[in-house]
Amino acid sequence: MSSGQRAEFKNPVVSWIDERLPVFSMMQKEYGVFPTPRNFNYFWNFGAIAMVMLITMIVSGIVLAMHYTPHADHAFSSVERIMRDVNWGWMIRYIHMNGASFFFIAVYIHIFRGIYYGSYKKPRELLWILGVIIYLLMMATAFMGYTLPWSQMGGWAATVISGFFTAIPVVGDMIQTLLLGGFSVDNPTLNRFFSLHYLLPFLIFAVVFLHVWALHVSGSNNPLGIDVKGPQDTLPFHPYYTMKDTFGLGVFLLLYVIVTFFFPNIFAHPDHFVEYNPMVTPPHIVPEWYFLPFYAVLRGLTFGVNPYIGLSLFALIVVMAPVYCGADKKTGLCSIICVVGRKYAVLLLAIAAVAFALGYLSQVEKATGGALISLPLSNLVFVNAKLAGVLAMFGSVILLVFLPWLDTHPVRSARFRPLFKTATLLLAIDFVILGYVGMETADAALFGVIPLLWIGQLGTGYYFAYFLMLLPWLSRNEKAQPLPASINEAVLKA
């Protein structure tokens, strides 16, 4: 890295070090003069903000670990000791507790920015995938951190979430036992969660380093989504973006400070303040807010895959075949499926809808017991509801990895793709609605009439349809608006 060209430094000490280890040259190149598109909006602040939050979490976490006792008998008390007796312990703990939420807020905005402006497209696919890995590591870290205070909510959340793995056939129970270090959440669980909760942030840090490295190879995307054509399109990173990022960071930290110091428990459920008791199940187990949309996806799958649902999925695959395969694949089975998919698209969609309705209704339990409608073979469930829910939940996150190949439209920014723009804004709204559904009890109803479950199921449907059907279809069929000739030209016009 930067071992080629070195910058000149007047300071002899700096110069001496730089000749031997060119860290100053590297900083100069990557953060000083680094050519950055001149048209960033404030969405581009959130990478730097997320970085600051990661460091805040690591520093506050290291201090907390000095005072915390990872033992089932002492964990809850040691956290209370931090809150009451450790000098400034309450502040460090509230910074850490709410910092997790604000880290996720920053990262969610950062991810949305990436989707909206097509930042995952060539040549930034690997940069995007590294980002998804960071997000996955964050989820694992946050989940384990949730358990450490050994509260009713944390302990039971660990029970519920580790229970997901039991849905996996054959090896599921083994995986759960390995994860918990026993057959239920107990001291070995706490020990390994603490160990991993301390380890994973450093892994995140390492992947962030790769993420930034990859960013500095391809350069940043920008709100227009067009490539940098020359020096007139860019500005040096410092001072232009260092100052802009610092201002944006200040606004973000103001909100963080308001919550941390004036509403520190706003994200915390009352059962966080009751010590974990494996004999008493809380009435309402909820994960942290940043997992709620995925929790809604999990709970939305109240039905498994029986022959009708299977037929519905098959019909959808055939309809999508021409979109997935493309016109260039004209040989063999694929071409036959493509021809069928193209020719009978409307019919296939109708079949998919009817088969889905039948498959769904034949699995809905009546209040009196038994299915709402009985159909032949409807009891033949290949993938049961529990496994389907777990697959959908993990799938909804893993899908992000494949985004660069699901959306292959040559235009990056939603600004020039009205249909993509609408669909993506709807996805953001959908995500918030799913979060709301995940927060409420499973039997809740909107305005007392519409079961939230249905809304969650519709939301789940849109989420998957967006990635698996809308994006590939739009990639082939959406006609983009004309792009400006260059960033500079667009900036001057504005």
Binding site: M91, P239, I258, F261, N265, H272, E440, A444, L452
Partner: protein, 255 residues
């Protein structure tokens, strides 16, 4: 800052209006909304109320409910001096040891002791209370939806069950309690605890004082927290303002 509070309030109201079938409210009675000294961005604990609340805890609640996260030394925050705290702690007997001869022995409490628990174990407390567990009160105000308002609601929510509702033997009707059936007998009567100041000696006042005391117990550093918060907020406000000016001036050359 008031506008932020208002905004938060409006958001809460909007959210609770949207809340499906008001799921949480349906579990118990409507939460009362009293005005408390510790509310708001610069709210503090009313020291006189804290001391009265502590008295009610010692004489009434403490007979069944432990507070094992709170120490006698913490009472300094209520406005007691060292001698008063030593005197309070010394009223309780603790088992300590083993001594040089390997024997356990009894000694009077010290400021460094946690509040003496009424029962030796959770099991003993349940055995003595008809199988119901009197929860530890150190964090009670944070461990219940509604906090101080909920505690006040429980203490003042006793009454006769309406027609058609059966109250099981040894249980009581309480409008605040989720399900309306509570195992705790009405703990407070008017005039039960004598106050040294001229606060009214009513269940209503006892409930307010205990709720204030328990809020302090669950969040003893609240006043420090808000003080530091205001400083941090003002610092960041100025810093962000300066950064805005810097950024604007810098970018003026570009646009």
């Amino acid at each position: 800052m008031m506008s932020i509070k208002k905004l938060a309030l409006v958001t809460c109201v909007a959210l609770s209006a949207l809340s499906p079938a008001s799921a949480r409210a349906a579990e118990g009675g409507a939460l009362p909304h009293l005005s408390w000294s510790f509310e708001g961005v610069n709210g503090t604990y009313d020291r006189a109320s804290l001391q009265r609340g502590f008295k009610v805890y010692r004489e009434v609640c403490g007979a069944c409910h432990s507070m094992d996260k709170v120490y006698y030394r913490d009472l300094e925050a209520l406005g007691y001096d060292e001698d008063q705290i030593k005197a309070v702690a010394a009223e309780y007997t603790f088992i300590d040891g083993p001594n040089d001869e390997g024997e356990m022995y009894e000694r009077p409490g010290r400021p460094s002791d946690p509040f003496k628990a009424p029962y030796a174990s959770r099991e003993q407390s349940m055995y003595a209370n008809n199988g119901a567990y009197p929860p530890d009160m150190s964090l009670l105000a944070k461990a219940r939806h509604g906090g101080a308002n909920y505690i006040y609601g429980i203490l003042t929510g006793y009454g006769h069950a309406p027609e058609g509702h059966e109250v099981p033997e040894g249980k009581y009707w309480n409008t605040m309690m989720p399900g309306h059936i509570i195992a705790m007998a009405p703990p407070l009567q008017d005039g039960q605890v004598s106050y040294d100041d001229n606060a009214s000696q009513t269940v209503d006042q006892y409930a307010k004082d205990v709720a204030t005391f328990l809020t302090w117990a669950s969040e003893p550093h609240m006043e420090d927290r808000k003080r530091v918060g205001i400083t941090a907020f003002l610092f960041l406000l100025v810093f962000t303002g300066v950064m805005y000016t810097v950024k604007k001036k810098l970018w003026a050359k570009i646009h």
